[in-house]
């Protein structure tokens, strides 16, 4: 990971402290010397932000990877931030529990990295995101002050909720060292229902039908483009569909069975008969994996792997998702898309042969203003040319809350040393 990080980031040195105290001492040393700090987890998302030029110290959390406490009957777990998400899930699986987050590249991605990136996938519709599961946190701010917030109980309102604040902070406020999660029992059963859409316009009718459905899906996905063409479950009879509507169901056996029957009826009534049911556990796991990994290296299937993927992330009110998908396809006809039709997030995987300058104009002129108008934002989620992107192309126009965010940043990192030039703060 460190070798990979050194290729992407301007690292003059790296270290991997094994305790929070050592990590704090390292940050204090950097603070005194004015050395930039690049926090490193599993290195799976380093290309998700612009890359600055300032040489600095890569501080990896990978040696902070211990299980601290797992009182399974309390449905909580405390781990150090460098534990991989896969290792966390394996531990939880021994008690038939899980953390219901779809984190890509979970074998490498760390708990702290997933938190800093606010990693989430399709099942966020049913389960929420990492902010809904973090109940305690320890971290080291840009001065080297170690601090904690929250605790190890599932309900707690004592003090400011830094657990939430650090979600999505991209390592620019503090280096997370330890996290306590509340977790859930694993559902006994899962299934997916697939409908092949003749046109994108039909997707809105189906999305409306889903919004009023009696069922409680964990994910509602609108998929489009070449990335989905080689999935066996999507190989439907008849002419190739324009898009796929895929709904994920989880629960007890009886619940999933009832939801399958009910959705089939609801879709039939709405004029969209179910094209395929995916119920085999292995097939479900494989499809879930493909949906989770869409924005990453594995997401394009066996095709192009030589370059880092070029992925946009767009958000809007859920009712605007189809419009957003249509506009991305108009601008980038070969784009593959995964839209969370229930929640309003769209991931668009573009041709990675595109150059940075070819991306800037459509983003600045069309997609940034469109997403803003629809209540959301457009960002570059991953790119092979992170070093060439400006912050405004990558993160979109400033929002009115940015001034306050900058003051918060100043509070945690007065010298601006944490991940400099990578995020909205500069």
């Amino acid at each position: 990971m460190l070798a990979q990080a050194s290729k992407l980031l301007p690292l003059s040195e790296t270290c991997a402290p094994a305790t929070q105290a050592d990590l704090a001492a390292q940050v204090q040393a950097c603070f005194s010397a004015g050395t930039p700090i690049y926090p490193l987890g599993g290195g799976t998302a380093l290309h998700c932000a612009p890359i600055g030029k300032r040489q600095g110290c890569g501080i990896a959390t990978t040696a902070l990877n211990r299980l601290v406490d797992y009182p399974a009957r309390d449905l909580t777990i405390t781990v150090e931030a460098g534990m991989t998400v896969a290792a966390l899930q394996q531990t939880l699986a021994t008690e038939n529990q899980f953390l219901p987050l779809d984190v890509p590249q979970a074998g490498d991605a760390t708990v702290g990295g997933a938190l800093a990136m606010n990693a989430a996938g399709p099942r966020r519709f049913g389960y929420g995101t990492i902010r809904d599961y973090v109940i305690g946190i320890s971290a080291v701010d840009g001065r080297g002050t170690a601090f904690s917030a929250g605790g190890r109980v599932v309900k707690n309102v004592a003090g400011y909720d830094f657990c939430k604040l650090l979600v999505g902070s991209l390592g620019t406020l503090a280096v997370v060292t330890q996290v306590t999660f509340k977790v859930k029992p694993r559902p006994a059963a899962a299934a997916y229902l697939v409908h092949g859409l003749a046109s994108l316009e039909q997707a809105e009718s189906l999305a409306v039908a889903m919004a009023a459905s009696q069922t409680t899906p964990v994910s509602v996905n609108l998929l489009m483009g070449a990335a989905w063409s080689e999935i066996a479950e999507f190989n439907l009879p008849g002419p190739p569909p324009a898009a796929y509507f895929v709904v994920g169901l989880e629960g007890t056996g009886a619940e999933v069975e009832w939801m399958l029957a009910t959705l089939k009826n609801e879709w039939q009534t709405a004029g969209f008969p179910v094209s395929r049911t995916v119920g085999e556990p292995e097939a479900c796991a494989s499809l879930r994996q493909r949906l989770t990994e869409f924005g990453c290296d594995g997401g394009a299937g066996t095709a192009v792997k030589s370059k880092l993927p070029l992925v946009l992330k767009l958000t809007a009110r859920p009712s605007s998702v189809v419009a957003l998908v249509a506009e991305v396809r108009r601008l980038f006809p070969s784009a593959s898309l995964l839209a969370h039709a229930g929640g309003g997030t769209v991931l668009a995987r573009l041709d990675s042969e595109l150059q940075a300058h070819e991306l800037a104009t459509p983003l600045l002129q069309v997609l940034h203003p469109l997403a803003t108008r629809l209540g959301g934002q457009c960002t570059v989620w991953s790119s092979p040319f992170a070093g060439e992107l400006t912050r405004s192309v990558c993160w979109g126009p400033a929002r009115e809350s940015d001034a306050m965010l900058k003051r918060v940043k100043q509070t945690f990192d007065p010298k601006g040393l944490l991940n400099p030039d990578r995020f909205i703060f500069g």
């Binding site: 605790g151 190890r152 309900k155 707690n156 999505g168 029992p185 069922t215 809350s401 965010l405 100043q410």
Partner: protein, 489 residues
């Protein structure tokens, strides 16, 4: 503020808001001298009732100009002194900003002003198939703005989470008077989650003037049960077993014998008065899964030694049962002239331990304590009964409450699950958090609230070397005219 400038401030506020939206007569203001935490009281100097965000902005700007403390208040149902005007000053009461501005079912959100009473939104959504999930026991009175300030919970948090899990965005007036929107109806706004920080900040960072809330699909069905136990240990064992089996009820509430007697007198539900503990268990979700889950819960309660498990599947019976639970605090009036509710949290497997400690502490201080818990969350609400006319009883009640909270900390818990720190629990912050934690919290407070005019004397310890928290000013200021009952304690 120099006292002689007070009439000028009052005149400016009157001019901006109009006579109808302001109170400055002591007799009229005295009901605002405390919230549900009645042990400390202090009257504000002026009370403003803004009707628009712009009114709030005007009030905040004037408070800055005249160097007067200010703080927001919803319905005043909070239980830790969160809206106690510690230094007097201007109390901004939101009960006239009560519009539900938008309900958008397709996109699953609603936009409300902070003075909207929680149950009004519930009522406005009836029949739509959606609801707003957080339903504190005081939902008939408490406002959504207040819920945001304290990150309120309620009986259904075990499955549905607390307020912060259902707030998508807020519009707020910052302490410099600017109006800023944080978050909104879409997912994942870029940047650290400031909405998550502001929810639960107890009115110490910003003044919230609008809230975007998530709407949740109504569950298709309910199965409500009442399990009667001969001992608290057996009841808590059942709780642990139910959750250990992977069943997450929508609500899992425990009431002990003391509270049952009061409830029975008030509501005549037919509770067995000789039972030591009762569990109110509610499952919800798809009909398809409910009967099976109910049978498993009944079997687990039986195995843990329940004397009887009654079903309240009939909607009328269910509503009556919930009415008992939600009005439990009201029924305490039948037991004692005054009471103080604690709000500790323990890991739920430590419930038997903490309950034994409460019994010991009750005996030690000679005060009666009755219990109604959000047991599934490990959130305990021991209710200490006393008579506020007897100073010795007040002291015993406070000491007993304090010792219970210390016991919660000792078993890895917290001193507040849903009521907040307010003024009541400030002394516990240094026991719960390390100096470094409090230092970082203090910095964040100062970042949002640099002059500490907003909600002074709340949430963070005043002493301890941080140096930036509320300090009474040496110049004669309006608040010095009535320092409040706190001085007497």
């Amino acid at each position: 503020m120099i006292a002689s400038r007070f009439p000028t401030l009052l005149a400016e506020l009157r001019r901006a808001l109009g006579d109808d939206n302001l109170l400055a007569n002591h007799a009229e203001m005295v009901v605002y001298e405390c919230d549900g935490f009645t042990i400390e009281k202090n009257c504000p100097d002026v009370i403003c009732f803004p009707r628009h965000t712009a009114d709030v902005q005007t009030i905040v700007r004037l408070c800055n100009e005249f160097d007067v403390p200010f703080l927001p208040r919803g319905a005043g149902t909070s239980l830790a002194g969160g809206c106690l005007p510690v230094d007097g000053g201007v109390l901004i009461v939101f009960t006239r900003m009560k519009a539900i501005e938008e309900i958008n079912l397709r996109d699953r959100y609603a936009v409300v002003q902070p003075g909207v009473v929680n149950v009004w939104l519930t009522n406005a959504l009836k029949g739509t198939g959606f609801h707003y999930a957080p339903d504190p026991s005081s939902q008939g009175a408490c406002t959504i703005g207040g819920n945001v300030a304290t990150n309120s919970g309620g009986p259904h948090t075990l499955k549905y989470g607390v307020t912060v899990n259902h707030v998508l965005g807020v519009e707020a007036v910052l302490t410099d008077g600017s109006i800023v929107r944080f978050g909104g109806p879409a997912e994942d706004y870029v940047g650290p989650d400031l909405v998550g920080l502001l929810v639960g900040s107890e009115g110490t960072l910003v003044v919230v003037t609008k809230v975007w809330v998530r709407l949740t699909r109504d569950p298709q069905g309910y199965r409500t049960m009442l399990a009667i136990f001969e001992s608290v240990d057996a009841a808590t064992q059942a709780i642990s077993d139910i959750i250990g089996q992977g069943i997450i009820p929508a609500a899992l509430e425990m009431m002990d014998q003391g509270i049952l007697i009061a409830l029975e007198q008030a509501f005549h539900f037919g509770f067995p008065l000789d039972a030591q503990a009762i569990l109110l268990i509610e499952l919800d979700g798809l009909e398809a899964g409910l009967d099976e889950q109910r049978d498993r819960v009944v079997a687990l309660c039986d195995a843990a030694g329940a004397r009887e498990v009654r079903r309240a599947d009939d909607p009328k019976e269910r509503l009556k049962l919930w009415k008992c639970r939600k009005q439990a605090f009201g029924a305490i009036g039948r037991l004692s002239p005054s009471y103080c509710t604690q709000d500790g949290v323990v890991p739920r497997t430590k419930l038997p331990h903490i309950f034994r400690r409460i019994t010991e502490i009750s005996a030690k201080y000679g005060v009666r304590i009755v219990n109604v818990f959000h047991a599934g969350d490990g959130n305990i609400h021991p209710i200490v009964l006393f008579d506020e006319r007897e100073p010795a009883q007040v002291k015993a009640a406070l000491d007993a409450g304090g010792e219970i909270l210390e016991a919660c900390i000792d078993c890895g818990g917290s001193v507040t699950g849903e009521h907040g720190i307010g003024v009541e629990k400030i002394p516990f912050m240094a026991k719960l958090f390390a100096p470094g934690d409090l230092e970082v919290m203090q910095r964040v407070r100062t970042c949002f609230n640099p002059d500490h005019r907003l909600s002074p004397g709340k949430m963070l310890p005043t002493a301890g070397g941080c140096g930036m928290e509320h300090k009474p000013k040496p110049s004669p200021s309006i608040d010095r005219t009535h320092p409040g009952r706190r001085a007497a304690l």
